[in-house]
Symmetry: none
Subunit: 223 residues, 2 copies
Protein backbone atom coordinates (compact mmCIF):
# COMPACT_ATOMS: atom_id res chain seq x y z
CA UNK A 1 0.00 0.00 0.00
CA UNK A 2 1.21 3.47 -0.90
CA UNK A 3 0.11 6.41 1.20
CA UNK A 4 0.55 10.19 1.01
CA UNK A 5 0.42 12.01 4.33
CA UNK A 6 -0.12 15.78 4.42
CA UNK A 7 0.39 16.95 8.00
CA UNK A 8 2.19 20.07 9.14
CA UNK A 9 2.73 19.07 12.74
CA UNK A 10 6.21 17.56 12.74
CA UNK A 11 5.68 15.49 15.86
CA UNK A 12 2.41 13.98 14.68
CA UNK A 13 3.72 13.55 11.13
CA UNK A 14 6.75 11.61 12.24
CA UNK A 15 4.65 9.51 14.56
CA UNK A 16 2.15 8.57 11.86
CA UNK A 17 4.85 7.76 9.33
CA UNK A 18 6.60 5.60 11.88
CA UNK A 19 3.45 3.78 12.91
CA UNK A 20 2.26 3.23 9.35
CA UNK A 21 5.58 1.71 8.38
CA UNK A 22 5.52 -0.46 11.47
CA UNK A 23 2.06 -1.64 10.45
CA UNK A 24 3.42 -2.72 7.09
CA UNK A 25 2.55 0.11 4.74
CA UNK A 26 5.24 -0.22 2.09
CA UNK A 27 5.53 3.36 1.01
CA UNK A 28 4.69 6.58 2.85
CA UNK A 29 5.32 10.05 1.41
CA UNK A 30 5.01 12.92 3.86
CA UNK A 31 4.52 16.55 2.93
CA UNK A 32 3.82 19.50 5.20
CA UNK A 33 2.09 21.99 2.93
CA UNK A 34 -1.17 22.00 1.01
CA UNK A 35 0.45 22.86 -2.30
CA UNK A 36 2.89 20.00 -1.97
CA UNK A 37 0.07 17.60 -1.20
CA UNK A 38 -1.69 18.67 -4.38
CA UNK A 39 1.43 18.28 -6.51
CA UNK A 40 2.43 14.93 -5.04
CA UNK A 41 -1.08 13.55 -5.42
CA UNK A 42 -1.17 14.34 -9.11
CA UNK A 43 2.41 13.30 -9.73
CA UNK A 44 2.13 9.69 -8.63
CA UNK A 45 -0.34 7.07 -7.56
CA UNK A 46 -1.42 6.58 -3.97
CA UNK A 47 -3.88 4.11 -2.51
CA UNK A 48 -4.95 6.68 0.06
CA UNK A 49 -4.17 10.33 0.78
CA UNK A 50 -4.34 11.41 4.42
CA UNK A 51 -5.05 15.14 4.48
CA UNK A 52 -4.92 17.28 7.57
CA UNK A 53 -7.76 19.78 7.74
CA UNK A 54 -5.48 22.69 8.54
CA UNK A 55 -2.38 23.04 6.41
CA UNK A 56 -0.15 26.01 5.69
CA UNK A 57 -0.24 27.12 2.07
CA UNK A 58 -3.57 25.60 0.99
CA UNK A 59 -5.83 23.96 3.60
CA UNK A 60 -7.00 20.37 3.41
CA UNK A 61 -10.53 21.09 2.28
CA UNK A 62 -9.49 23.20 -0.69
CA UNK A 63 -6.74 20.76 -1.70
CA UNK A 64 -9.37 18.02 -1.65
CA UNK A 65 -11.80 20.08 -3.72
CA UNK A 66 -9.16 20.94 -6.29
CA UNK A 67 -8.03 17.33 -6.58
CA UNK A 68 -11.59 16.15 -7.24
CA UNK A 69 -12.13 18.95 -9.73
CA UNK A 70 -8.99 17.81 -11.47
CA UNK A 71 -10.50 14.36 -11.79
CA UNK A 72 -8.55 12.67 -9.03
CA UNK A 73 -10.32 9.42 -8.12
CA UNK A 74 -8.15 7.98 -5.38
CA UNK A 75 -9.33 7.69 -1.80
CA UNK A 76 -8.94 10.70 0.49
CA UNK A 77 -9.07 10.58 4.28
CA UNK A 78 -9.38 13.87 6.14
CA UNK A 79 -7.87 14.43 9.57
CA UNK A 80 -9.57 17.01 11.73
CA UNK A 81 -9.38 18.28 15.27
CA UNK A 82 -12.93 19.57 15.00
CA UNK A 83 -15.79 17.36 15.93
CA UNK A 84 -18.59 19.63 14.82
CA UNK A 85 -21.05 17.95 12.49
CA UNK A 86 -20.99 20.89 10.12
CA UNK A 87 -17.24 20.65 9.59
CA UNK A 88 -17.38 16.94 9.00
CA UNK A 89 -20.14 17.41 6.48
CA UNK A 90 -18.12 20.12 4.76
CA UNK A 91 -15.16 17.78 4.40
CA UNK A 92 -17.27 15.03 2.87
CA UNK A 93 -18.96 17.52 0.56
CA UNK A 94 -15.52 18.65 -0.60
CA UNK A 95 -14.97 15.14 -1.86
CA UNK A 96 -13.25 13.37 0.99
CA UNK A 97 -14.18 9.71 1.37
CA UNK A 98 -13.73 9.62 5.09
CA UNK A 99 -12.50 11.57 8.07
CA UNK A 100 -10.98 10.87 11.42
CA UNK A 101 -11.18 13.12 14.45
CA UNK A 102 -7.97 13.76 16.38
CA UNK A 103 -6.85 12.33 18.61
CA UNK A 104 -7.24 8.84 17.19
CA UNK A 105 -5.63 5.48 17.69
CA UNK A 106 -3.35 4.02 15.08
CA UNK A 107 -5.48 0.87 14.90
CA UNK A 108 -8.46 2.87 13.83
CA UNK A 109 -6.42 4.73 11.22
CA UNK A 110 -5.15 1.42 9.88
CA UNK A 111 -8.65 -0.07 9.79
CA UNK A 112 -9.91 2.94 7.87
CA UNK A 113 -6.98 2.88 5.46
CA UNK A 114 -7.66 -0.77 4.79
CA UNK A 115 -11.35 -0.14 4.27
CA UNK A 116 -10.59 2.71 1.91
CA UNK A 117 -7.94 0.99 -0.17
CA UNK A 118 -10.12 -2.09 -0.40
CA UNK A 119 -12.88 -0.01 -1.90
CA UNK A 120 -10.64 1.88 -4.30
CA UNK A 121 -11.44 1.07 -7.86
CA UNK A 122 -8.47 2.86 -9.25
CA UNK A 123 -7.41 1.15 -12.43
CA UNK A 124 -4.35 -0.98 -12.15
CA UNK A 125 -1.44 1.25 -12.79
CA UNK A 126 0.41 0.44 -15.95
CA UNK A 127 3.66 1.78 -17.07
CA UNK A 128 3.96 1.72 -20.81
CA UNK A 129 7.12 2.60 -22.65
CA UNK A 130 7.09 3.21 -26.39
CA UNK A 131 9.99 1.88 -28.41
CA UNK A 132 9.69 2.26 -32.16
CA UNK A 133 6.85 0.03 -33.28
CA UNK A 134 6.75 -1.63 -29.88
CA UNK A 135 4.88 -0.91 -26.69
CA UNK A 136 6.48 -2.29 -23.58
CA UNK A 137 4.32 -2.83 -20.53
CA UNK A 138 6.55 -2.80 -17.49
CA UNK A 139 3.96 -4.19 -15.12
CA UNK A 140 2.71 -7.13 -17.09
CA UNK A 141 5.94 -8.00 -18.85
CA UNK A 142 4.33 -7.91 -22.23
CA UNK A 143 5.36 -6.44 -25.52
CA UNK A 144 2.95 -5.31 -28.18
CA UNK A 145 3.70 -4.74 -31.86
CA UNK A 146 0.96 -3.68 -34.24
CA UNK A 147 -1.59 -4.66 -31.64
CA UNK A 148 -0.17 -8.14 -31.40
CA UNK A 149 0.90 -9.12 -27.94
CA UNK A 150 3.96 -11.22 -27.32
CA UNK A 151 4.95 -12.60 -23.99
CA UNK A 152 8.48 -12.28 -22.78
CA UNK A 153 9.89 -14.63 -20.22
CA UNK A 154 11.08 -13.01 -17.00
CA UNK A 155 14.72 -13.00 -18.06
CA UNK A 156 13.96 -11.71 -21.52
CA UNK A 157 11.89 -8.95 -20.06
CA UNK A 158 14.46 -7.91 -17.50
CA UNK A 159 17.07 -7.65 -20.21
CA UNK A 160 14.90 -5.60 -22.54
CA UNK A 161 13.86 -3.36 -19.70
CA UNK A 162 17.43 -2.75 -18.65
CA UNK A 163 18.50 -1.92 -22.19
CA UNK A 164 15.55 0.42 -22.68
CA UNK A 165 16.20 2.23 -19.44
CA UNK A 166 19.70 2.88 -20.66
CA UNK A 167 18.86 3.63 -24.24
CA UNK A 168 21.80 5.22 -26.05
CA UNK A 169 24.29 3.81 -23.58
CA UNK A 170 26.32 0.67 -24.07
CA UNK A 171 25.92 -1.81 -21.23
CA UNK A 172 28.90 -3.99 -20.46
CA UNK A 173 28.38 -7.62 -19.62
CA UNK A 174 29.55 -6.94 -16.12
CA UNK A 175 26.81 -4.40 -15.58
CA UNK A 176 24.14 -6.55 -17.17
CA UNK A 177 25.11 -9.50 -14.99
CA UNK A 178 25.04 -7.29 -11.95
CA UNK A 179 21.67 -5.77 -12.63
CA UNK A 180 19.81 -8.87 -13.75
CA UNK A 181 21.42 -11.74 -11.96
CA UNK A 182 22.86 -9.84 -9.01
CA UNK A 183 26.49 -9.22 -8.09
CA UNK A 184 26.80 -12.57 -6.37
CA UNK A 185 25.14 -14.59 -9.08
CA UNK A 186 26.70 -17.83 -10.08
CA UNK A 187 26.22 -17.85 -13.82
CA UNK A 188 28.64 -17.58 -16.69
CA UNK A 189 28.90 -14.60 -19.03
CA UNK A 190 27.69 -16.83 -21.81
CA UNK A 191 24.26 -16.79 -20.23
CA UNK A 192 23.94 -13.16 -21.21
CA UNK A 193 24.67 -13.90 -24.86
CA UNK A 194 22.14 -16.68 -24.79
CA UNK A 195 19.46 -14.47 -23.32
CA UNK A 196 20.20 -11.74 -25.87
CA UNK A 197 19.75 -14.31 -28.56
CA UNK A 198 16.38 -15.47 -27.20
CA UNK A 199 15.17 -11.90 -26.91
CA UNK A 200 16.28 -11.02 -30.42
CA UNK A 201 14.53 -14.03 -31.79
CA UNK A 202 11.30 -13.24 -29.97
CA UNK A 203 11.13 -9.63 -31.15
CA UNK A 204 12.13 -10.61 -34.66
CA UNK A 205 15.45 -8.83 -34.60
CA UNK A 206 17.20 -10.99 -37.17
CA UNK A 207 19.75 -8.53 -38.38
CA UNK A 208 20.45 -7.13 -34.93
CA UNK A 209 19.13 -3.75 -35.85
CA UNK A 210 17.21 -3.25 -32.64
CA UNK A 211 19.62 -4.66 -30.09
CA UNK A 212 23.13 -3.96 -31.26
CA UNK A 213 26.30 -5.71 -30.29
CA UNK A 214 29.25 -3.51 -29.46
CA UNK A 215 32.15 -5.78 -29.99
CA UNK A 216 34.49 -5.99 -27.05
CA UNK A 217 32.13 -4.01 -24.84
CA UNK A 218 28.57 -5.20 -24.58
CA UNK A 219 25.07 -4.51 -25.93
CA UNK A 220 22.97 -1.45 -26.54
CA UNK A 221 19.70 -0.10 -27.83
CA UNK A 222 20.39 3.13 -29.69
CA UNK A 223 18.55 6.37 -29.08
Amino acid sequence: MKVLLAEDDVYLGELIVHLLKKKGVEHVDWVQEGEDAYDYALASFYDVIILDWMLPNGDGVSVCQRLRKHGYHGAILMLTAKDAVQDRVEGLEAGADDYLVKPFEIDELMARLKALSRRTFAPIQEEIVRWGAFEVNRTTHTLTKNGEQMILTPREFQLLDLLLQNKGRVLTRDIILDRIWGYDADVSMKTIDATVKLLRKKIGDERQQLIKTVRGVGYTIEK
Copy 2:
Protein backbone atom coordinates in the same frame (compact mmCIF):
# COMPACT_ATOMS: atom_id res chain seq x y z
CA MET B 1 -30.12 6.41 -5.02
CA LYS B 2 -31.36 3.11 -3.61
CA VAL B 3 -30.78 2.33 0.06
CA LEU B 4 -31.35 -0.69 2.28
CA LEU B 5 -31.85 0.08 5.96
CA ALA B 6 -31.49 -2.67 8.56
CA GLU B 7 -32.64 -1.30 11.90
CA ASP B 8 -34.75 -3.05 14.51
CA ASP B 9 -35.82 0.01 16.47
CA VAL B 10 -39.19 0.89 14.94
CA TYR B 11 -39.12 4.50 16.00
CA LEU B 12 -35.60 5.15 14.63
CA GLY B 13 -36.28 3.10 11.52
CA GLU B 14 -39.37 5.05 10.61
CA LEU B 15 -37.58 8.28 11.29
CA ILE B 16 -34.62 7.46 9.07
CA VAL B 17 -36.82 6.22 6.24
CA HIS B 18 -38.87 9.37 6.47
CA LEU B 19 -35.86 11.68 6.53
CA LEU B 20 -34.05 9.89 3.71
CA LYS B 21 -37.09 10.18 1.48
CA LYS B 22 -37.43 13.81 2.38
CA LYS B 23 -33.80 14.32 1.39
CA GLY B 24 -34.49 12.86 -2.03
CA VAL B 25 -33.45 9.21 -1.79
CA GLU B 26 -35.64 7.53 -4.41
CA HIS B 27 -35.93 4.09 -2.91
CA VAL B 28 -35.56 2.90 0.67
CA ASP B 29 -36.11 -0.70 1.75
CA TRP B 30 -36.34 -1.27 5.48
CA VAL B 31 -35.84 -4.59 7.22
CA GLN B 32 -35.65 -5.33 10.92
CA GLU B 33 -33.68 -8.55 11.10
CA GLY B 34 -30.15 -9.54 10.20
CA GLU B 35 -31.19 -12.48 8.04
CA ASP B 36 -33.55 -10.30 6.04
CA ALA B 37 -30.80 -7.76 5.49
CA TYR B 38 -28.58 -10.51 4.11
CA ASP B 39 -31.27 -11.84 1.80
CA TYR B 40 -32.39 -8.44 0.55
CA ALA B 41 -28.80 -7.35 -0.12
CA LEU B 42 -28.12 -10.38 -2.31
CA ALA B 43 -31.48 -10.22 -4.03
CA SER B 44 -31.22 -6.74 -5.47
CA PHE B 45 -28.82 -3.88 -5.92
CA TYR B 46 -28.41 -1.05 -3.42
CA ASP B 47 -26.10 1.92 -3.59
CA VAL B 48 -25.61 1.74 0.14
CA ILE B 49 -26.68 -0.62 2.92
CA ILE B 50 -27.15 0.94 6.36
CA LEU B 51 -26.63 -1.79 8.91
CA ASP B 52 -27.37 -1.42 12.58
CA TRP B 53 -24.72 -3.00 14.78
CA MET B 54 -27.23 -4.85 16.94
CA LEU B 55 -29.92 -6.74 15.10
CA PRO B 56 -32.11 -9.64 16.13
CA ASN B 57 -31.41 -12.80 14.16
CA GLY B 58 -27.90 -12.09 12.90
CA ASP B 59 -26.06 -9.00 14.10
CA GLY B 60 -24.72 -6.33 11.77
CA VAL B 61 -21.10 -7.34 11.95
CA SER B 62 -21.70 -10.93 10.95
CA VAL B 63 -24.14 -9.95 8.19
CA CYS B 64 -21.45 -7.64 6.83
CA GLN B 65 -18.81 -10.33 7.03
CA ARG B 66 -20.98 -12.84 5.26
CA LEU B 67 -21.89 -10.41 2.51
CA ARG B 68 -18.24 -9.62 1.79
CA LYS B 69 -17.35 -13.27 1.87
CA HIS B 70 -20.06 -13.80 -0.66
CA GLY B 71 -18.41 -11.25 -2.93
CA TYR B 72 -20.85 -8.42 -2.30
CA HIS B 73 -19.15 -5.25 -3.47
CA GLY B 74 -21.69 -2.50 -2.65
CA ALA B 75 -21.08 0.09 0.04
CA ILE B 76 -21.95 -0.73 3.65
CA LEU B 77 -22.44 1.82 6.43
CA MET B 78 -22.60 0.57 9.99
CA LEU B 79 -24.69 2.22 12.69
CA THR B 80 -23.49 1.81 16.23
CA ALA B 81 -24.37 3.10 19.64
CA LYS B 82 -20.90 2.27 20.81
CA ASP B 83 -18.10 4.73 20.46
CA ALA B 84 -15.28 2.49 21.58
CA VAL B 85 -12.43 2.43 19.11
CA GLN B 86 -12.20 -1.34 19.25
CA ASP B 87 -15.80 -1.75 18.16
CA ARG B 88 -15.37 0.67 15.32
CA VAL B 89 -12.25 -1.12 14.18
CA GLU B 90 -14.09 -4.42 14.36
CA GLY B 91 -16.82 -3.09 12.08
CA LEU B 92 -14.35 -1.87 9.51
CA GLU B 93 -12.43 -5.12 9.68
CA ALA B 94 -15.65 -6.97 8.98
CA GLY B 95 -15.79 -5.14 5.67
CA ALA B 96 -17.90 -2.08 6.42
CA ASP B 97 -16.88 1.02 4.49
CA ASP B 98 -17.94 3.43 7.15
CA TYR B 99 -19.76 3.78 10.44
CA LEU B 100 -21.76 6.38 12.24
CA VAL B 101 -22.20 6.64 15.99
CA LYS B 102 -25.72 7.14 17.31
CA PRO B 103 -27.16 9.60 17.86
CA PHE B 104 -26.28 11.34 14.62
CA GLU B 105 -27.72 14.14 12.57
CA ILE B 106 -29.48 13.39 9.33
CA ASP B 107 -27.21 15.83 7.49
CA GLU B 108 -24.19 13.85 8.43
CA LEU B 109 -25.84 10.60 7.40
CA MET B 110 -26.71 12.12 4.05
CA ALA B 111 -23.17 13.43 3.53
CA ARG B 112 -21.77 10.01 4.27
CA LEU B 113 -24.26 8.28 2.00
CA LYS B 114 -23.30 10.62 -0.80
CA ALA B 115 -19.59 10.06 -0.20
CA LEU B 116 -20.11 6.30 -0.21
CA SER B 117 -22.29 6.14 -3.29
CA ARG B 118 -19.96 8.48 -5.13
CA ARG B 119 -17.08 6.20 -4.41
CA THR B 120 -18.68 2.97 -5.44
CA PHE B 121 -20.40 4.49 -8.39
CA ALA B 122 -17.58 6.61 -9.72
CA PRO B 123 -16.36 4.10 -12.28
CA ILE B 124 -19.00 2.99 -14.68
CA GLN B 125 -19.90 -0.55 -13.78
CA GLU B 126 -22.12 -2.44 -16.11
CA GLU B 127 -24.49 -4.75 -14.37
CA ILE B 128 -24.50 -7.23 -17.21
CA VAL B 129 -21.31 -7.92 -19.07
CA ARG B 130 -21.18 -9.85 -22.32
CA TRP B 131 -18.18 -12.07 -22.84
CA GLY B 132 -18.19 -14.18 -25.95
CA ALA B 133 -20.99 -16.71 -25.59
CA PHE B 134 -21.34 -15.82 -21.91
CA GLU B 135 -23.43 -13.29 -20.10
CA VAL B 136 -22.21 -12.25 -16.68
CA ASN B 137 -24.60 -10.66 -14.21
CA ARG B 138 -22.61 -8.74 -11.64
CA THR B 139 -25.55 -8.22 -9.35
CA THR B 140 -26.91 -11.73 -9.10
CA HIS B 141 -23.48 -13.33 -9.53
CA THR B 142 -24.63 -15.64 -12.26
CA LEU B 143 -23.16 -16.72 -15.54
CA THR B 144 -25.27 -17.71 -18.52
CA LYS B 145 -24.21 -19.55 -21.65
CA ASN B 146 -26.68 -20.18 -24.44
CA GLY B 147 -29.49 -19.42 -22.03
CA GLU B 148 -28.20 -22.02 -19.62
CA GLN B 149 -27.37 -20.70 -16.22
CA MET B 150 -24.38 -21.96 -14.30
CA ILE B 151 -23.67 -21.30 -10.67
CA LEU B 152 -20.33 -19.94 -9.69
CA THR B 153 -19.09 -20.02 -6.12
CA PRO B 154 -18.23 -16.64 -4.60
CA ARG B 155 -14.51 -17.05 -5.18
CA GLU B 156 -14.96 -18.24 -8.72
CA PHE B 157 -17.19 -15.31 -9.44
CA GLN B 158 -14.86 -12.77 -7.89
CA LEU B 159 -11.99 -14.06 -9.96
CA LEU B 160 -13.95 -14.01 -13.19
CA ASP B 161 -15.23 -10.55 -12.43
CA LEU B 162 -11.76 -9.23 -11.69
CA LEU B 163 -10.37 -10.70 -14.90
CA LEU B 164 -13.26 -9.34 -16.93
CA GLN B 165 -12.95 -5.87 -15.45
CA ASN B 166 -9.36 -5.90 -16.55
CA LYS B 167 -9.86 -7.57 -19.89
CA GLY B 168 -6.84 -7.17 -22.11
CA ARG B 169 -4.35 -6.80 -19.31
CA VAL B 170 -2.41 -9.40 -17.44
CA LEU B 171 -3.12 -9.56 -13.74
CA THR B 172 -0.20 -10.60 -11.60
CA ARG B 173 -0.77 -13.04 -8.76
CA ASP B 174 0.05 -10.26 -6.33
CA ILE B 175 -2.71 -8.09 -7.65
CA ILE B 176 -5.21 -10.93 -7.78
CA LEU B 177 -4.45 -11.87 -4.19
CA ASP B 178 -4.75 -8.25 -3.17
CA ARG B 179 -8.05 -7.66 -4.86
CA ILE B 180 -9.81 -10.88 -3.96
CA TRP B 181 -8.31 -12.01 -0.69
CA GLY B 182 -7.07 -8.63 0.57
CA TYR B 183 -3.49 -7.49 0.95
CA ASP B 184 -3.22 -8.95 4.43
CA ALA B 185 -4.78 -12.29 3.60
CA ASP B 186 -3.15 -15.41 4.87
CA VAL B 187 -3.44 -17.79 1.95
CA SER B 188 -0.79 -19.23 -0.31
CA MET B 189 -0.34 -18.25 -3.94
CA LYS B 190 -1.35 -21.78 -4.85
CA THR B 191 -4.88 -20.90 -3.85
CA ILE B 192 -5.05 -18.64 -6.88
CA ASP B 193 -3.99 -21.42 -9.21
CA ALA B 194 -6.53 -23.71 -7.65
CA THR B 195 -9.32 -21.18 -8.04
CA VAL B 196 -8.31 -20.57 -11.64
CA LYS B 197 -8.52 -24.27 -12.22
CA LEU B 198 -11.98 -24.56 -10.67
CA LEU B 199 -13.23 -21.62 -12.72
CA ARG B 200 -11.77 -23.00 -15.93
CA LYS B 201 -13.42 -26.32 -15.30
CA LYS B 202 -16.78 -24.80 -14.58
CA ILE B 203 -16.86 -22.63 -17.69
CA GLY B 204 -15.53 -25.46 -19.82
CA ASP B 205 -12.22 -23.82 -20.61
CA GLU B 206 -10.27 -27.00 -21.20
CA ARG B 207 -7.64 -25.63 -23.53
CA GLN B 208 -7.21 -22.42 -21.57
CA GLN B 209 -8.44 -20.38 -24.46
CA LEU B 210 -10.66 -18.16 -22.35
CA ILE B 211 -8.48 -17.59 -19.31
CA LYS B 212 -4.88 -17.53 -20.39
CA THR B 213 -1.79 -18.10 -18.32
CA VAL B 214 1.08 -15.68 -18.76
CA ARG B 215 4.02 -17.58 -17.45
CA GLY B 216 6.06 -15.79 -14.84
CA VAL B 217 3.44 -13.06 -14.56
CA GLY B 218 -0.15 -14.12 -13.96
CA TYR B 219 -3.46 -14.63 -15.74
CA THR B 220 -5.52 -12.73 -18.26
CA ILE B 221 -8.66 -12.65 -20.33
CA GLU B 222 -7.79 -11.22 -23.71
CA LYS B 223 -9.68 -8.40 -25.36
